[in-house]
């Protein structure tokens, strides 16, 4: 008798969520099994990558992360366009780090104007990412939600402390809400319920489980995502059946190991390839634990991960 793989009984499906509009709109989700378990389920929309753009010139990025964007670092719109035209980005994630009150503390109006230029420069979906400061994120994302009505942007991170304000903006102007919770299945579920109660439709929610990069909490994110998919797919937990989005690039590239020069610690090898592998191993681990969207920085990491997704699908 031929061997048969013991199968899991799935009872749930991840919801399909669409970002952006027009021919370049991206749909994620729809999985009926654990990630890439194609022998017992389907993944109608393989995971996608959003390439990162910073809304001001980066100050503390290592050389390897700067080099691919050298001539556009001062121009977020050109940077976004380069990511799409040259590096084939499916989506853009704009990191609005300039609004951080502990950093540049740019005004909401000013930051929103930069973001609008980025949104206008590309025809792919745009994810707007704040700094997890409730007042500031609310201020900026409210302006952008209203002034970019109909663009079907993704707005995040939306936390328990600001879900009413930002969630209302997403609801009123038909954008997607990125519900962000601190590495905990129950808190993720609770926030999804709160957004639902607010009236945000079920096909307008993405879940950010909070990303711990390699060496700095990756295992927590990994396991929370596995538990999340388990609850969504095998326990019919409807309030967890949303696609998962992971903010990989900025979390990885700020770690010490991504910044050390090869000369300072020769055992860590080539600095550029090390940075790319730190980013892509983090991404790879999160892919097999359930990520539907990965926000990534380095074009080489993006290329590698695209190839791995293809390998696992075909």
């Amino acid at each position: 008798m031929a061997f048969e793989t013991p199968k899991v009984n799935y009872s749930g499906t991840i919801r399909e969520i669409t970002l952006g509009t027009g021919p370049k709109a991206v749909t994620v989700g729809g999985s009926t099994s654990y990630p890439f378990h194609l022998f017992e389920g389907t993944m109608p929309h393989p995971p996608r990558i959003a390439m990162e753009v910073l809304d001001h010139r980066p100050e503390d990025w290592p050389e390897a992360a700067i080099a691919p964007f050298a001539e556009v670092l001062d121009n977020p719109a050109a940077w976004a366009k380069k990511n799409v035209d040259e590096y084939g980005a499916d989506m853009i994630a704009l990191q609005m780090a300039s609004i951080d009150p502990n950093g540049l503390n740019r005004s909401a109006r000013e930051a929103a104007d930069v973001a609008k230029k980025v949104i206008a420069a590309v025809d792919v979906p745009v994810i707007l990412w704040g700094v997890a400061n409730h007042e500031k994120d609310t201020e900026v994302l409210r302006i952008l939600a209203e002034e970019c009505e109909g663009k079907n942007l993704a707005l995040g991170p939306i936390e328990e402390g600001d879900y009413k304000q930002i969630g209302a903006g997403a609801l009123a102007y038909k954008h997607v809400a990125v519900a962000s919770s601190p590495i905990d299945v129950n808190l993720a579920k609770q926030l999804n319920i709160l957004l639902g109660n607010l009236g945000v439709p079920a096909d307008k929610i993405l879940v950010d489980p909070t990303t711990g990069p390699l060496g700095y909490g990756l295992e927590y994110t990994y396991s929370v995502m596995e538990r999340d998919r388990m609850a969504a797919l095998t326990q019919e937990d409807e309030k967890l059946q949303y696609p998962l989005i992971c903010n990989v690039g900025s979390e990885v590239w700020k770690t010490k190991e991504a910044k050390i020069a090869a000369a300072d610690d020769p055992k860590l090898g080539d600095a550029k390839e090390r940075g790319i592998l730190l980013e892509s191993i983090t991404a790879m681990s999160l892919l097999i634990s359930g990520a539907d969207i990965l926000i990534m920085r380095h074009p080489e990491s993006v290329k590698l991960i695209r190839k791995m997704i293809k390998n696992l699908m075909e």
Binding site: A2, F3, T5, P6, F36, H37, L38, F39, D60, N102, G212, L214, G215, Y216, G217, L218, E219, Y222, S223, E226, R227, M230, K254, T255, K256, E257, K259, P266, K267, L268, G269, D270, A271, E273, R274, I276, L277, L278, S280, I281, M284, S285, I288, S289, E300, L304, I305, K307, M308, N311, L312, M313, E314
Partner: protein
């Protein structure tokens, strides 16, 4: 495992002699069922009972030793259920077709690329020595060279039992893994494994062939087996790993109850892709991954990922309590205090290092909790920190009496002032990312 206390009790002598250290046989049976006692403690159990109990209590994935390296012994599918047992072995491949310089550079990398992290040593575990030409003498020499050069677990690779025997002659005491018994050579390789008491890998063209081979070998009395499902496409290899682990754990299917070996070195176009395939196999169940080369930029991230995946999901990682000098601080350098949650320590020390400002970092044992959690649990509070600072010995290293506490623990500054009356307490930033800016304007 799998048997209840009552079922086990029926197989025990039921004399309540107490020789096992537990007053009654029933109590001992309960302890066995809970995995809290070993059957060997009972000197009176009959041979037939012992066999039944042994096979019932064998872990679903058989443990296998290759020299000092251990693999297998896994009991769950997901790491949140229970800690994974034996971290995936990282092996580097050397072959008799490689120029000497390539072999030497791999052996040197194996010996040199060791990393200390959270008090753990991270390093590759095994060297796979492969015969490509089938020349027994050449292979023997290569094995002799490798086993003389590095203190690694060894994997001997050849299709021919004679070639494997020639290699084994130079490394028998290392108990290498013999790779591989196939449909064509199973009898000869199995005999070699039995005679030398070495673990053996099976390689099948598909899962059915693998099952046939493990059944044949275990029928011959071989216990330590490693499985190569033969797949070299990432998709199929991933599926095979899941199929094998599920069959072992969910279905208690003995013929697949063994650790696996995967070959990213045969599955990728380049080093970067190979490393990513290896990372997939580390997360999803490979017992051993064989790499074409060891380079710091790939090995280090892979070892850290392995550590992440195989840590205890219940217990936070902790750093040792103590004084950590960063950027060569002197007696005027600022003093900062934080908790000993590893991630907290890594991020805080990383930011201080990045600021290039010399400083003393006091890491206080809070049972591996982060600042906020430790504060909420009453461990990172004024009197505890005060006592810690006093006995830490930091006052022997500095002239000033100033200390910076994390922004999130601002509430304790009053209590801490009472404990450290001669000290100036400063509230630092909430987020570690803001430490460099803070340090640049701070004067101790």
């Amino acid at each position: 495992m799998g048997m209840t206390g009552i079922e086990i009790y029926k197989l025990l002598p039921q004399t309540n002699c107490g020789d096992c250290g537990v007053p009654t046989c029933l109590a001992f049976a309960m302890k066995l069922a809970a995995g809290q006692a070993e059957l060997a403690k009972c000197p009176h159990v009959s041979e037939t009972s012992r066999e039944k109990l042994d096979s019932a209590s064998a872990p679903p994935v058989m443990p296998v030793s290759i020299g000092a390296f251990k693999t297998g012994g896994e009991t769950v599918l997901f790491r949140h259920e229970k800690t994974f047992v034996n971290p995936t072995g990282i092996a580097v491949l050397v072959t008799d077709a490689m120029p000497d310089a390539d072999v030497d550079s791999r052996l040197k990398a194996f010996a040199d690329l060791r990393y200390d992290r959270v008090g753990m040593l991270l390093a590759a575990d095994l060297v796979a020595v492969k015969s490509t030409g089938g020349d027994a003498a050449v292979f023997g020499n290569l094995v002799a060279k490798v086993s003389g050069a590095v203190d690694a677990g060894l994997i001997l690779m050849s299709d021919s039992a004679d070639v494997l025997a020639a290699g084994l002659a130079h490394a028998a005491d290392r108990k290498p893994l013999l790779y591989a018994a196939t449909k064509a050579n199973a009898d000869a390789v199995a005999k070699l494994a039995l005679d030398s008491k070495c673990p053996v890998a099976v390689k099948g063209a598909n899962m059915d062939e693998v099952i046939e081979l493990t059944q044949k070998l275990s029928g011959m009395g071989i216990k330590e087996i490693v499985i190569d499902s033969g797949s070299r496409s990432m998709k199929k290899a991933f599926e095979d790993q899941i199929a094998i682990r599920r069959a072992a754990i969910k279905s208690a299917f003995r013929p697949l109850g063994y650790p696996t070996i995967a070959f990213p070195c045969e599955m990728a176009d380049n080093f970067m892709e190979e490393t990513l395939i290896a990372s997939t196999m580390v997360a999803k169940y490979a017992g051993i991954v064989v790499l074409s080369d060891l380079r710091g930029e790939g090995l280090f991230p892979l070892l850290v990922q392995r550590m992440n995946i195989f840590t205890d999901p219940q217990r936070p990682m902790a750093t040792e309590q103590g004084i950590y000098p960063i950027n060569n601080p002197d007696e005027n350098a600022p003093v900062m205090v934080t908790t000993n949650f590893s991630l907290t320590y890594f991020i805080v020390s990383g930011e201080i290092e990045g600021s290039r400002v010399p400083a003393w970092l006091l890491v206080m044992d809070c049972e591996g909790l982060s600042v906020l959690t430790a504060w909420a649990a009453g461990k990172f509070v004024g009197d505890a920190i005060g006592a810690f600072v006093k006995k830490s010995g930091i006052t022997d290293k500095i002239k000033h009496r100033s200390i910076v506490i994390p922004g999130y623990s601002a509430a304790i500054s009053g209590d801490l002032e009472e404990q450290l009356p001669d000290w100036k307490i400063t509230i630092g930033p909430r987020e570690a990312a803001h430490i460099p800016a803070f340090l640049k304007q701070y004067q101790a």
